[in-house]
């Protein structure tokens, strides 16, 4: 395509038309001769040049928000590295031992080998505490960055055709990351992690028909048993990581196949990608960024203790301290359990139905399902079958943005409920009033967020339109000959203007009878939904608008 590209076709810095097998002509310095011989050796056995040719100069667009997925990837690499180190010392066994390490307050206490080996990692092995803390901080960053990455994809419409399936893969990765986090949190078998498992046990027991049996199978008998840590360990270090690695690979293959999206801007079309080539700029920036992410995690882990299990002590079903908190990413589920009103459980024909558990699980399940299939819902409403490689600015898709704001608010309200007791003691409120307030927020909050976000988007779009047509206020006041004062408006330049006007407008579906003269129910639904999506809209500035505006002056 460009001169750059052809240059990269050569193996080193030469031409491609050298005889087969002969190294390309290059300088005669010994180091260069060695490099070319080595490259030749490898290529004759692997065809690697074809890969370099294909990917070496691939273009990646640049934007800070595209780094969120990278952060997730890099923190996962850090997790694998540090986790592997931990496996050499951790003992996934619940066999009771009497602790005899150097942490004095727990000396002589009976605990599981899992707990005792985790204490040993922390207090006997040089760097052990550091690696444990890097592992845990990296896990938190992993999940946080996946969450933010997902929000970026959503609010810019990057999930539209052809990327719907990659959205699904990514979302499954998010769920797997939560599972990976929870299983890891449970491994040390300390008081808090055991309490987390106790809650899982209680929820499993509430499942109709099979609950008590499921719990029995999971824990290898009665809770807590001596099996669960070993079983979670297999999930945590083998099964889940293997699936995650496979799905990440697939996720990235799709990123390459689709080529990365880009934000609207001058010269950027739906048929091109503008950015930096993999070699050298992108590789240097992305590779460097891995080290920066790793470095930041290491810095945090050097100074900030996380999960000080020695303060909690070993698991015991009886004691528990006030203010127990799960790791933050489980909070939304814990919050949902807290918000359910009292007395929702019934006995029907001799069997117990635990609505207080089933309802929160169902609500969360539906929420997760909706997020999972959202791209297909929006695709159906718009009927838009084209590929979309230019990202939307959130304001230019007001209804989508508003739905997203409602979803985020719902999640946030559930999440805050997981800290209801802390909120109550901190602000000296009764726990009842905190719970009632959050119950209201879960229902009303998303509605308010929806309307506010939609209005804000439309207002911003209006402002963009104004700006594209009239330019911005320059702050310069001039006095006209007639004596009146006006503020001079300065036109935006054509590049700026393009950013403001290059978006799509959609209009609601008109209901029309089908070939048989009927109006079908799905069509009615779709018309209703498209009306909901697109009734309020602001059109992008057109050439006519601009000319009319110019001639006006």
């Amino acid at each position: 395509m460009t001169i750059e590209k052809t240059k990269a076709d050569g193996l080193v810095d030469g031409t491609t038309d050298h005889p087969v097998g002969a190294p390309p002509r290059i300088s005669n310095a010994p180091s260069a001769r060695f490099t070319s011989a080595a490259a030749n050796y490898i290529d004759e056995r692997t065809s690697i040049s074809a890969v370099v040719k294909e990917f070496g100069r691939k273009i990646f667009p640049d934007h800070w928000s595209f780094m969120l997925g990278e952060v997730a990837l890099y923190s996962f690499v850090v997790i694998i590295l540090t986790g592997t180190f931990l496996t050499f010392f951790f003992q996934a066994s619940m066999a009771p031992v009497v602790y005899d390490g150097s942490f004095v307050p727990l000396k002589g206490v009976e605990m599981s080998s899992a707990m005792s080996s985790t204490l040993n990692i922390s207090f006997e092995i040089r760097g052990g505490l550091l690696v444990r803390q890097i592992h845990h901080w990296a896990a938190l960053l992993f999940i946080a960055s996946i969450g933010l990455h997902m929000l970026r994809i959503y609010f810019t419409g990057a999930f539209r055709k052809p990327r719907e399936l990659n959205w699904v893969i990514g979302f499954v990765l998010f769920i797997l990351a939560l599972a990976e986090g929870f299983t890891g949190y449970s491994l040390p078998d300390d008081l808090l992690s055991g309490n987390g498992l106790r809650i899982i046990d209680g929820m499993v027991k509430g499942v109709p028909f099979a609950g008590s049996w499921l719990s029995f199978l999971i824990f290898g008998g009665e809770f807590p048993g001596e099996e669960i840590v070993g079983r979670l360990y297999t999930l945590h270090i083998l099964l889940l990581p293997a699936i995650i690695v496979a799905l990440i690979a697939l996720h990235l293959v799709f990123v390459v196949v689709h080529k990365h999206t880009q934000y609207a801007g001058p010269g950027k079309t739906n048929d091109n990608v503008i950015g930096y080539p993999v070699l050298p700029v992108y590789a240097a920036k992305a590779g460097g960024f891995f080290f920066i992410v790793f470095g930041i995690i290491a810095l945090i882990a050097s100074f900030f203790t996380i999960n000080p299990i020695w303060n909690y002590g070993p698991y015991d079903p009886s004691p528990v301290s006030a203010g127990t908190q799960p790791d933050w990413y489980i909070g939304f589920a814990d919050g949902a359990l807290r918000l359910i009103p009292p007395h929702l459980e019934s006995v029907i024909w001799g069997h117990t139905y635990s609505w207080n558990i089933l309802i929160p699980i169902t609500v969360l399940g539906l929420f997760i399902l909706t997020v999972l299939i959202y791209p297909f819902i929006e695709g159906w409403v718009t009927g838009d079958k084209r590929e979309h490689h230019i990202l939307d600015r959130p304001r230019n898709a007001p209804t989508r943005t508003a739905i997203g704001a409602a979803g985020v608010t719902f999640y946030a309200a559930l999440w805050s409920a997981a800290s209801s007791d802390i909120l109550a003691t901190h602000f000296q409120l009764s726990i009842e009033s905190v719970i009632h307030a959050i119950q209201a927020a879960v229902i009303i909050g998303p509605v308010i967020a929806y309307f506010v976000a939609k209005r804000v988007c439309l207002a911003l779009q209006k402002k963009d339109r104004e700006m594209a047509l009239h330019g911005f206020e320059s702050g310069r006041i001039v006095r006209l000959p007639g004596g009146e004062y006006i503020e001079v408006h300065q036109d935006v330049d054509e590049y700026e203007r393009w950013k403001l006007v290059s978006f799509h407008e959609y209009k609601p579906l008109m209901i029309r009878p089908n070939a048989k003269g009927k109006i079908t129910a799905p069509q009615r639904l779709r018309a209703g939904m498209s009306k909901w999506f697109f009734e309020d809209r602001i059109a992008p500035v057109t050439r006519t608008d601009l000319e009319r505006q110019k001639s006006h002056h």
Binding site: T2, E4, R126, G127, N195, R198, I199, K205, S212, W213, L217, G220, G221, E222, P224, G267, T269, D271, N272, V273, V281, G288, F291, V293, F294, G295, I296, A298, L299, S302, P317, S318, P319, V320, A322, T324, D334, L337, R338, P342, E345, G350, H351, I357, R386, E387, H389, I390, S420, I431, Y495, R497, W498, V501, S502, Y506, K507, P540, T542, T544
Partner: protein, 370 residues
């Protein structure tokens, strides 16, 4: 670079429409090319949009213009890389200089901090150096790639269909329905043994519902303190106090935690006149001393917090609140059932003992309980 030949209009020239439905990717985004696109659905196709001004002219960086600035940048980059080496060496030195000393709890902290700082420096030196290099010194003009529709070309698709067709004809899988259906049946059946193998996750010949319905408590079992296992006399329980209780002998069982997860009890004494006792439970308390299961009827956390003033028990997990004066009925939170009461009395020596096991299953609800 590659400025004119890739702007939208030019690109729109290639097209891969098929079957009358035109399918080339996203062409309609270019208003000018709207005609050749896949269905835009409800999108408004404007013919009147503003024109894309194309890639703005490239602006040079200071390091491109001023060789001195470029020199400085180069110095910064290699200094960072050298700092990284220093960080690695520092980390190795810190490993040796700050050993963990069993008698000195602070040594863990020093080891962690100095090792961590060395590693941080080693990583950040490489990271910031590489990014700075890319930003200030590497060629910074953007390149352009052309996108092709994700959809395969019509020829490829036709060939794929043909291959499946040939596969079908050559194997006869469509035609020989007996072979096909029996194979499907076999494939459905073969994972079944794997599923059944997982039955082994739980012990054989035990019934969970049965186990969940009983605890270690039995008639005459002494109430003992958790965790010491020492028995407690009624006289030691003053009004307003609360004790964490386990059954006598629990600490000697081989399945201590499983038993404790069911048998843990909270013992409290209130003024007998405060208690609303229902029919049949009149003699379950001993002079205002009551014992309730400590396992929350929601999902099983220990209900450990006793509010002396209100006589409320609070579960720290989801804040279910139980009223001791009313036989631990739920007054707030997600739990439904009252905490089961353990009938107690005193033995000849004045020690508190259980009259029997709990009369209903303790802890979270399950299907078989009623």
């Amino acid at each position: 670079m590659a400025h004119d030949d890739t702007s939208g209009t030019d690109v729109a020239a290639f097209s891969s429409g098929a079957d009358g439905v035109s399918t080339s990717a996203g062409r309609a985004v270019e208003p000018s090319a709207g005609a050749s696109s896949a269905s835009g659905g409800l999108a408004v196709i404007t013919t009147d949009g503003l024109a894309d001004p194309g890639i703005p002219p490239h602006r040079k960086r200071v390091t491109d213009l001023d060789p001195k600035k470029a020199k400085t940048a180069q110095r910064t980059v290699y200094t960072l890389f050298y700092l990284s080496i220093a960080g690695s060496i520092f980390a190795v030195a810190a490993y040796m200089a700050f050993p963990i000393n069993a008698d000195d709890p602070g040594s863990v902290r020093l080891n962690t901090v100095f090792l961590g700082l060395g590693i941080t420096l080693a990583l950040m030196g490489i990271g910031i150096g590489a990014v700075h290099w890319a930003k200030s010194l590497m060629h910074d003009e953007e390149g352009v790639d052309i996108r092709h529709p994700v959809r395969s070309s019509d020829d490829t698709r036709a060939r794929a269909v043909e291959i499946f067709h040939e596969g079908n004809v050559e194997s006869g899988i469509g035609r020989r329905s007996l072979i096909r259906n029996s194979l499907i049946g076999a494939l459905v059946a073969f994972p079944l043994p794997a599923v059944i193998l997982f039955r082994g996750l739980g012990p054989q010949n035990e019934n969970p519902a049965e186990l969940l319905s009983h605890t270690m408590w039995k008639a005459g079992a002494r109430l003992t303190l958790d965790p010491s296992g020492l028995p407690i006399k009624a006289a030691d329980v003053t009004i307003g106090s609360a004790f964490h209780i386990i059954p006598e002998g629990l600490n000697d069982t081989h399945d201590r935690l499983e038993q404790k997860a069911k048998a843990a009890v909270l013992l409290m004494r209130v003024n007998p006149s405060d208690l609303n006792v229902s029919a049949g439970r009149e003699n379950w308390n001993y002079d205002g001393i009551v014992a309730y299961s400590k396992i929350c009827t929601h999902v099983g956390c220990p209900v450990a917090l006793f509010e002396q003033q209100t006589h409320h028990l609070l579960c720290p997990c989801h804040q279910s609140t139980f009223d001791v004066d009313n036989e631990c009925a739920v007054i707030f939170g997600p739990a439904k059932r009252a905490l089961p009461q353990l009938p107690i009395t005193v033995d000849g020596e004045g020690y508190l003992i259980a009259q029997s096991d709990f009369l209903e299953p303790v802890g979270p609800s399950f299907w078989e309980r009623s």
